[in-house]
Symmetry: C2
């Protein structure tokens, strides 16, 4: 049972009678759980709940909510309260909120922020969604390399309340260039009079560029086991940092989008049960209709071979078997490649190696299925070896084609700049259906055209 379900009845009671009890309860539990309780309340209750709390937990709740829910809530608040809350938010969460706010309200709140906050906010908003710049925060510990360890720890204590993490501190030159990174671990383990310059990492610093894709950030943090990664511009100036917890959230979102694209669904903005019905229909419908129009070509293909099919109707009985074998093989190859590309295990220059692997796999798998298929045909009443040959040969051709197509489509899609997951199973299957049926009919016509076969 979730913490929130445990507390919800108690909170509902307290809302009517005793707002102080709410304050006490919220002190005891984690903001993530408070946010869950909050989401379980009605709109009216949410506002009473929020007003019963001091500023800090108010902001914590706001920061835990999803971007769109957060924007909805801020729109409903009285303008003074909205400004007060937004001013207290961390820089990165504030920027995420502004991406969702109506322009008028955003401008109004922006005008009320401190000069520094407003400048930071503008610089964060300049980065497109999905980039490191959009994910970073400007709330980090900045040191000078000339400081001693004791001075650095003093600085960390002063700014701790306002930064995203104190576990890494960044030494910056007067021009704003990142000179080195020092961990709180190193500071605590070192003598107090040692200089930061002697302690900090300077060589081969792991950094990401503001314009880098957020998946690059995840890969850097995962590879080097970091708690945060600094974001820099072309000139090496420190722009902000991205902490591991934000990376985890971003990676989870990326994975969800990948799986949804792979399944032929345009990524949903909300979770499955919360997404609006018509949003869901649109996300699915556009893709389904496009695939449906493409699949119509299968009818045109088959009608060209009406005579052959009519004369040996049994050919029709094996049609779904052949196209589904192709579809399944293509789905396997596409899934393997989409994932390998996402992990950086395969890069576009591996195209030839992938093609070789898929053709070889396709031949082996195709021959196995062809053998099974041909045997099945031979056990079918009144069918002869010619039909078995048609089915077997078609299976080999279709499976090899599907493996190659499934393997190369994600790479091609990536090369032209889209998410490889767009080369979804449904898309691959549709192409394989059309080409597969054409191959099947051509092979059938070539082999059976001589004499009647059934």
């Amino acid at each position: 049972m979730r913490v929130s379900e445990l507390f919800l009845p108690e909170v509902r009671d307290a809302l009517k009678t005793d707002p102080v009890a709410i304050r006490e309860l919220v002190e005891e539990i984690h903001p993530a759980d408070t946010a869950e309780i909050f989401l379980g309340l009605s709109e009216e209750e949410q506002l009473i709940f929020l007003k019963a709390l001091p500023l800090t937990p108010q902001v914590e709740i706001l920061e835990e909510l999803d971007d769109d829910l957060r924007a909805d809530l801020v729109e409903k608040l009285a303008p003074e309260m909205a400004v007060k809350l937004v001013a207290e938010m961390s820089a990165d969460e504030r920027a995420d909120l502004f991406h969702e706010l109506p322009a008028q309200l955003a401008a109004k709140i922006l005008g009320k922020l401190s000069k520094d906050d407003a400048r930071d906010l503008r610089s964060l908003l300049a980065w497109p969604e999905g980039t490191a710049g959009a994910l970073m925060t400007t709330d980090y510990v900045e040191l000078e390399a000339e400081m001693s360890v004791a001075e650095a720890i003093e600085r960390i204590r002063e700014v701790a309340e306002d930064v995203e993490t104190i576990y890494y501190a960044y030494a910056v030159s007067p021009e704003g260039s990142l000179r080195g990174v020092v961990s709180l671990r190193a500071l605590v383990l070192s003598k107090p009079d040692k200089s930061i310059a002697d302690l900090m990492d300077t060589e081969h610093l792991v950094t990401v560029h503001g314009g880098a894709d957020q998946s690059e950030v995840t890969q850097a943090i995962a590879k080097y086991d970091l708690l945060a990664v600094p974001v820099v511009d072309d000139a090496g100036r420190l722009l902000g940092i991205i902490t591991v917890d934000d990376t985890i959230d971003a990676a989870e979102e990326d994975n969800t989008e990948e799986v949804q694209r792979m399944s032929g669904v345009a990524p949903l903005e909300d979770s499955y049960l919360k997404a609006g019905f018509f949003q869901m229909i649109r996300s699915r419908g556009i893709c389904l209709v496009l695939l449906f129009l493409g699949e119509m070509l299968t009818g045109n293909v088959m009608s060209q071979f009406e005579e052959t099919l009519q004369s040996v109707i049994a050919l029709v009985f094996f049609m779904p078997l052949i196209i589904s074998a192709g579809g399944n093989t293509g789905s396997q190859s596409a899934g393997l490649l989409i994932r390998a590309l996402a992990l950086g295990e395969v890069v576009p220059k591996d195209t030839l190696a992938v093609a070789g692997r898929e053709v070889a796999s396709g031949i082996v798998l195709g021959v196995i299925l062809a053998a099974i298929g041909a045997v099945r045909v031979l056990f079918w009443p009144d069918l002869n070896g010619q039909v078995a040959l048609v089915v077997g040969l078609s299976l080999i051709c279709v499976v090899v084609f599907a493996a190659l197509m499934g393997g190369l489509m994600p790479i091609a899609v990536k090369k032209v700049g889209f998410d490889p997951a767009v080369a979804s199973t449904p898309l691959v299957a549709t192409l394989v259906d059309i080409v597969g049926l054409l191959l099947y009919c051509l092979i059938a016509q070539a082999i059976l055209s001589g004499g009647g076969a059934s």
Copy 2:
């Protein structure tokens, strides 16, 4: 370009002439990059490289390698060197290694470890793979609640070299029960004479049970933005901790397995390009053959309706269209639900809500496709309204069935204890093909049985 590709030529040169240069190079770069360079070397070069290094970087390389590569390497080392390296590894990495070592070698090395290390190792090895217990390490900072902050920091300095993280410290009772958690942040920001008991979190501590699935660990760390989570037994005794970097690696593995299962591939142990050819064939072949055998039923279904199909051969032309519309819809539903289950957004008690949502979506999507399909039939030469009715009705029925099946299968698979991703697109598509064709043929027979239709 990867760091490793940059350095590889230099390393190769140094291997032949100047082992000291290798030592210097390795000091400059991150162990993750050293491991990549290492992997680029031949087997023979790897051993020379390793022997050129001091113990610490040797162990770091070993810890960065994948489990199976690591085991291969240890098997190739001289027994004394293997023991020395294994003794220095962190507890969790050592346990991962032992899962892969041949029993004889494992027993031999185990006998040479210190008593404490051997006991920890045995307790870690007892947990099945994929559980929190198998992921945790026993190398953490243990405090007594009665300590002062200054004493705690002193303790942390003493043990820092041997623990996985110093950013959290765990207060444990004499019986081994977890009493509270305190962060290095709290210690650094607090007065030195304050008591740990006053500082540590005790209420609603986030912990996971040793037997919990590793996806629960990821969810806890992601939800509460933790750097590590403590693992406890039934009695609340602290067994170990899991750090965020290990969670990220585990989550990445889980995601890869999810995508591969969804695509109808048994999870590969290695990356796409490194997996052995026959391992790949087995991973794909078993699934393909099983689906192929299932799909054969489509032939049996159709042969029951041979007469109807023969008399209106145009029915055949729309067959792939109808089953692919079902397959695509089922793939969408399965993908959405597999992901929603993995994120905990949908739990089994939501089954009815999911069924309602999928039937409603299926009806709307089915009607849209049916309208397009029926129009296409009417524009087909020589086909009448009856065939349009057959195609339209079938599309609605098949799409609704596919949506429902795709939505419920992942939940059902989870209920019986398997990974929901086993309810893969290929599996759903195969079931939808069989039922879809049956529906199509039945509807065709019912509507067309009266008179000739073409």
